[in-house]
Symmetry: C2
Subunit: 376 residues, 2 copies
């Protein structure tokens, strides 16, 4: 097993600053960057367009898809490669067999990009969007239950809320939605849960899980995936299609049916190597345990400061710690911290500053950040 110090040494971004923006974009490990460069270079040796090159790429792609699938506890056939979490959400929103007047239920703290996608789909297809107040709700299950209508066909929620760091009880929510007289599908924005929570999506029974590789997994930007439960592949129609999604003129029978055409192959080499790097430090459960140990440490230290309020009333169960400091705006605080080498971000939606804590985060970084916030 690699020590934490050795593991951190593989991430150039961590060498010159204190990094607390994993939830925005993860730092790319050097071996992943080398894999990207090598993929471009090797495809020039083989082709780039030749029988040899296409064969090599097909083999690598299959192996990359298996690596992603293994992290999620799913069969590779259930995955669609996408550019981003939001693209995955769009595939679901545009592919479901809607009837005009159907309802979509969405949480009040969802990411603006996903909210825009829901509103655009609803506006174009004549659907009604209902919003339920999940932000810091003590009993999110009861809130969702109270907001489902007989017309609700889809619930759109994050597994981990990006603006507060709450972890929603997804298994219970799925049980509630699937147990309705007319079952409700659940589309999960997994941007803040993938690479954080140990996942077994098959056991969970989630309908649609849209994710990206470039945040907590520390892959390159521009590569994500959508998990579709196998029995829903017949329900979810392809919308944007191209040569990658069809075979002899018909949609493929696996997740590739929602893929379009050429994408940057090298990115998937980079993501696979990033996953390998994490695995060399520990299992998903080991990574998660260290991560919440660190996010709890930050939450406790910040909660002890007289002028700081953490949004979460109890210890975090994921990597996000959102907070406010009396007498300084979130924008001022983030700027002052960045000037001192600490990368954090504001969340306008909850008027706060957000720190992302990874298993890669060190105790020293948590302590330095706390001192810097105190001193601001």
């Amino acid at each position: 097993m690699v020590t934490l110090a050795d593991q951190r040494a593989r991430f150039p971004a961590l060498q010159t600053k204190h990094y607390f923006n994993y939830g925005g974009q993860g730092p790319l490990p050097q071996p992943a960057l080398e894999a990207i460069t090598n993929a471009f270079a090797w495809s020039q040796v083989l082709g780039p367009f030749s029988g040899q090159a296409l064969e090599w790429i097909a083999k690598q792609e299959a192996s990359n898809r298996r690596a992603l699938a293994a992290e999620l506890g799913v069969a590779p056939q259930t995955l669609t490669l996408t550019e981003s979490t939001t693209t995955g959400c769009n595939i679901v929103l545009w592919g479901l067999p809607w009837q005009p007047g159907d309802h979509i239920l969405i949480g009040d703290g969802e990411h603006p990009g996903v909210v825009a996608a829901v509103q655009q789909t609803a506006g174009r297809l004549g659907l009604q969007v209902n919003i339920c107040p999940l932000t810091l709700a003590p009993d999110p299950l009861a809130v969702i239950d109270a907001h489902l209508t007989p017309q609700t066909r889809l619930l759109v929620i994050s597994h981990v809320l990006w603006h507060t760091g709450q972890v929603l009880p997804l298994a219970d929510i799925l049980r509630l939605c699937h147990g309705r007289p007319q079952p409700v599908w659940v589309l999960v924005d997994a941007a803040q849960s993938v690479g954080v929570l140990p996942l077994d999506l098959t056991a969970l029974g989630v309908d649609f899980y849209a994710l990206t590789g470039h945040k907590w997994w520390c892959g390159p930007d521009g590569l994500g995936a959508l998990y579709t439960r196998p029995d829903l592949m017949d329900v979810l129609e392809p919308t944007y299609v191209g040569w990658r999604g069809v075979e002899a003129g018909n949609p493929r029978r696996d997740g590739r049916r929602y893929e379009v055409a050429t994408s940057a192959f090298a990115l998937s080499q980079g993501l696979r190597v990033a996953l390998e790097v994490h695995t060399q430090w520990g299992t998903p459960t080991e990574r998660y345990q260290r991560q919440i140990q660190m996010s709890t440490l930050l939450w406790e230290k910040l909660s002890a400061l007289p002028d700081v309020t953490c949004l979460l009333p109890g210890r975090p169960a994921a990597g996000l710690v959102a907070f406010r400091k009396r007498g300084v705006t979130p924008g001022q605080l983030v700027q002052t911290l960045e000037d001192q080498g600490f990368c954090l971000r504001t969340i306008p939606q909850s008027d706060c500053v957000r720190a992302s804590v990874h298993y890669l985060t060190s105790e020293l970084e948590v302590e330095s950040l706390t001192s810097a916030i105190q001193a601001t």
Copy 2:
């Protein structure tokens, strides 16, 4: 001005083989690969997610969009960055204000990926697809004219047909379509024309022009663009949307309105540098003139071989030379040639072999290829 030999020396893929697959994927120049690697590396120095990094990326992106726009003769605001040509086509197909029963007219030789997108959209939205025989048609304008119906709202054609290398008379076709009692929009698959024909899309007045950077422009795979004529931005609704396409909850007023969310920023650095590399050798017109000189040379040499038939009845006006050889299947011929270091491809749709000829192609390569085909 760089000599052709010096220019070729900047493309690693050209050093070890005779490359005739630019229409499949262009070779990546070494400076473009370095730009991609540097973009990833520099974003690790600045962030990757920080105020500094976001500012740097925004500035670079604007500059990259201007470089693309300059090559096409358009304003940067008219461009939407996409993953591929086909994605651009899907944006148009799903965004037009269709009425059930509207007709789409498509050529008989369009790329299977685009055909799949047209069929999927038509099937889902209740549109009728009509097909017109443009393959090797002596008068394509008359063919299109004869196949337009009062219900035709959209014509989908390639500027350069991928399976034969014909260049369609796009200005005349636009005049015909725009002059109809109910004007017909024209969506152009520009996969085989961008980086080949000198283009001034503003003067041409084309409605929608969907392109990729990874073929004749020799950029990285996974980055393309869609040009939308400015007055059509209000007509073409966004379909897949996300944070990149909206501003304060509403669609942006420029081409970014059809963009979704995170993509691989480094790719656009690579494409801009690839364009700079070409510019160092010559203007678009100079590149085009050398290119058709070379494609004409190949066409003439192949036409002179007794067992070889070129599909085009006259000299090529673009980079593609499609042909058949008596007594050998396209698949066998391509395999035999690849074994000798020549990269070509088959086109199942027209049961032929296709050679792509670039301005980078040397006379020696054309001669060697001709001899190798003769000897097979």
